[in-house]
Symmetry: C2
Subunit: 465 residues, 2 copies
């Protein structure tokens, strides 16, 4: 470790109470983005952050959008790769307020049963606590050395919890300004309290709504049943045919571009001690569904899937109506991984549906989404450096993990700005984000600041070597 | 033909204008059973009919029920089988009233484009015109000979169009009084304007609603998709497995008790010239569904089937929600024929569903209905006599036909009173029953009265021979 980094880390440790106080000031601003009544608070949070960045030496400002504003700051000093850091300053609503032990916007530190210190407040973890780890790391570097080790830009959003309609247009309108060598997205978690993680795999999404029409009106199942086509029968046959007996998706070419997990990643995951029985048992299930020859973790992080998210047709009210409906519909989504092509998957699905359609039925398709999966190469230099820094800070090997869900901003950075996103965060599974009594461990906050200080140093070493 | 019958038919012909006037008086009573505002009119129609029956010499009266009253009359004179005649005096609502060319309850005779005379009014066909054919035939026999050829009872219902909740309890409470050798149900039609028909096959019904539960709460399809069981997938697999590639139902024992159509019936049906392309084309279809080796007519009249009448699960609103639902459900109905046992079919279905259910899913069943099909033997003496009489009246072979839908009263006569029901009526496909400008051909009314006069005579001959 360089002397400079040692000094920075020491400064972080000695200044941690002040760092907490600054976080508390941000948390006290009630920046609930979904409720228009809090639009003023959202603006206030953005202004507070722009001022904070200016205080650290960033060229920063509040940037208007049709919705809540963005905060953008630049400190393009130091040598090495230019990184864009992303976080969001908006928070979830606090309902049900009755279940909060204290005021959600009056942050306090409590000592948990295991002796750990926790910051309890809305936004303590998601995402104010997380984004402040980075700003405080920058603050420490500036305080100790007068400048950052590498060029840094920061983008802070105020609509993450409300669908983020302004983000992509803002990226497109400010493409040159926002494009860096790669991005850090700080909105994910550690594997567990001891084990740091970088999320490097995200599944993409292709959605399709299909409506199948048979007869031109609803028919009486007594008069027509057995001779007239029932579109529900057509639909269930189509949907059932999407999976084979081994749980694999049957669409031709569906697995094109799906790579096997690199042995190093597989070994990491095997070592995680993931308890698939508990994962399923917590929601009342006991038998893994899907591909029979894959582990649960592989299925949800690294394998594509197809789920019927909704289905409807005929009479669904109370009692019975002996109808053969004219139409039946379903909403189907595919989760994509690795190099699967969303457009090809959509086309293969539509071809398949049409191939199974009786000649006197028709189908309408309505597309939804269409984003590829993300899988960062394990030898990406920024990833290697980041993992190394995290390993050093936490004293345990940093793992690369996946996320079955989507983190749209990561895909947007890729598709709009053409840059990879490394997802690094310090949240824990029990942080109760989106729920009453949200918390962020002081160890997450303190260790997070130290982690970023190390990562910035590690990235600059690369450039200097 | 006996002289007595000739005289009766001649009387019917000479009295037809008076017969029409009497029908008009009944039609003018606005006996809409579904609307409580017309309860008084329903009672008035019942009283009018009881008086009419008394006028013809029946021992008749209005009999209260928790709903609209029944009319029951007896004239147990003559020799031969005792028959119970069934019709209903209530009518459908008249909405949309704007589409009626004249007052629905002001009957009038119009001349159609083809020169035929038609009675236009609500209830002219369904079922006031039809039930009056029988009463007028009895009137003619009484007027000419002083008595009926065979013992006759009459049961007229006032809740047929509103679900008929009082009928079965009334049958059960008056079992001895209502039980006869067999019943005539006059609420069906002729094959076409020239060809009389007796409906001898009705399909039964077994309904089941199933709810499949997988996880104990809805899951995010990103976090769980590919590893957690989706109950919609389970449901579509179950439903799709109900039919094989030849359109046959796969439940073990499903076809037990399903006989092949007797050659005589098959020959009759082949001769009907049924236009299956038009039948399907009228509702926008062109390819028969269901069993590949059966004609459309056979499928809807004489073959069992299984239809999914409703299905629902997951998110079905606008847009998309990437959910794996906890539950999915469907409403399924089986139409039964011949000697299929509803209880066995229901049990086979439930066994099948359970056999396809993953061990960590559960299913709830909710039964609906449960009535066997009806298939009268072709050599039933009453049927043979009735067909002969109808053939003589209309100058064309009377056909025995089926009905894909249910006529519950026929099953109720069978199950509650233990007697067969012959369904004889004179309605035509274009009578617009339940619709604006409902009509009944004067030829249906006049020929219907003459038909019943002949049928009563034919049944008495049997007894006398």
């Amino acid at each position: 470790m360089s002397d400079r980094l040692s000094d920075v880390l020491a400064h972080i440790d000695s200044d941690i109470d002040n760092s907490l106080e600054r976080l508390f000031r941000l948390i006290e601003i009630q920046s609930i983005s979904t409720d228009p009544a809090f639009a003023g608070a959202c603006l206030q949070a953005a202004e507070w952050l722009a001022d904070a960045l200016k205080g650290v030496g960033f060229d920063a400002g509040v940037r208007p959008t049709p919705g809540h504003p963005m905060v953008v700051g630049h400190a393009k000093e130091g040598a090495g790769p230019h990184v864009l850091f992303y976080g969001h300053y908006d928070v979830q609503p606090v309902d049900p307020i009755d279940l909060w032990e204290t005021d959600p916007f009056a942050p306090r530190i409590v000592t948990a049963a295991d002796g750990s210190k926790q910051i309890v407040a809305r936004g303590s973890s998601d995402d104010k606590g997380q984004l402040m780890t980075f700003i405080e790391a920058c603050r420490a570097w500036k305080a100790v050395t007068g400048k950052l080790p590498i060029p840094v830009s920061i983008l802070l959003e105020g609509e993450e919890e409300s669908g983020g309609p302004s983000l992509v247009p803002f990226m497109k309108a400010n493409k040159d300004e926002l494009t860096a060598d790669f991005a850090f997205v700080c909105d994910t978690g550690m594997w567990d309290k001891q084990t740091p993680a970088v999320t490097t795999m995200l599944r993409g999404l292709v959605g399709e709504e299909i409506t199948i029409t048979a007869a031109k009106r609803d028919l009486h199942s007594g008069m027509y049943g057995g001779a007239a086509r029932n579109p529900i029968h057509v639909l269930v046959s189509i949907l059932d045919g999407l999976r084979d007996e081994n749980g694999r998706i049957t669409l031709p070419g569906f697995y094109d571009g799906v790579g096997e997990l690199p042995p190093a990643i597989k070994a990491q995951w095997d070592a995680l001690g993931f308890d698939s029985a508990k994962f399923l048992g917590d929601v009342g299930l006991s038998i893994p569904a899907g591909e029979i020859d894959r582990s649960v973790l592989e299925k949800i992080w690294a394998r594509p899937t197809c789920e019927v998210n909704g289905i409807s047709g005929g009479y669904t009210g109370k009692g019975f109506k002996t109808v053969i409906p004219s139409q039946a519909f379903a909403k189907i989504s595919f989760r994509l991984v690795d190099k699967q092509d969303p457009d090809k998957i959509r086309a293969a699905f539509r071809d398949y549906v049409r191939s199974k359609l009786p000649a006197d039925c028709s189908v309408e398709f309505s597309p939804h989404g269409g984003s590829p999966g993300i899988r960062l190469p394990g030898d990406l230099p920024a990833l290697v450096k980041t993992r190394q820094a995290l390993t050093e800070e936490w004293g345990r090997d940093c793992v690369t993990i996946g996320s079955g869900g989507s983190i749209p901003v990561a895909g947007d950075f890729q598709s709009v700005l053409g840059m990879d996103a490394l997802m690094v965060g310090f949240a824990l599974d029990d942080d109760r984000i989106h729920s009453p009594n949200e918390k962020y461990d002081v160890s997450s906050y303190h260790g997070g600041i130290r982690s970023w200080a190390r990562i910035l140093a590690a990235l600059s070493e690369k450039a200097q070597s």
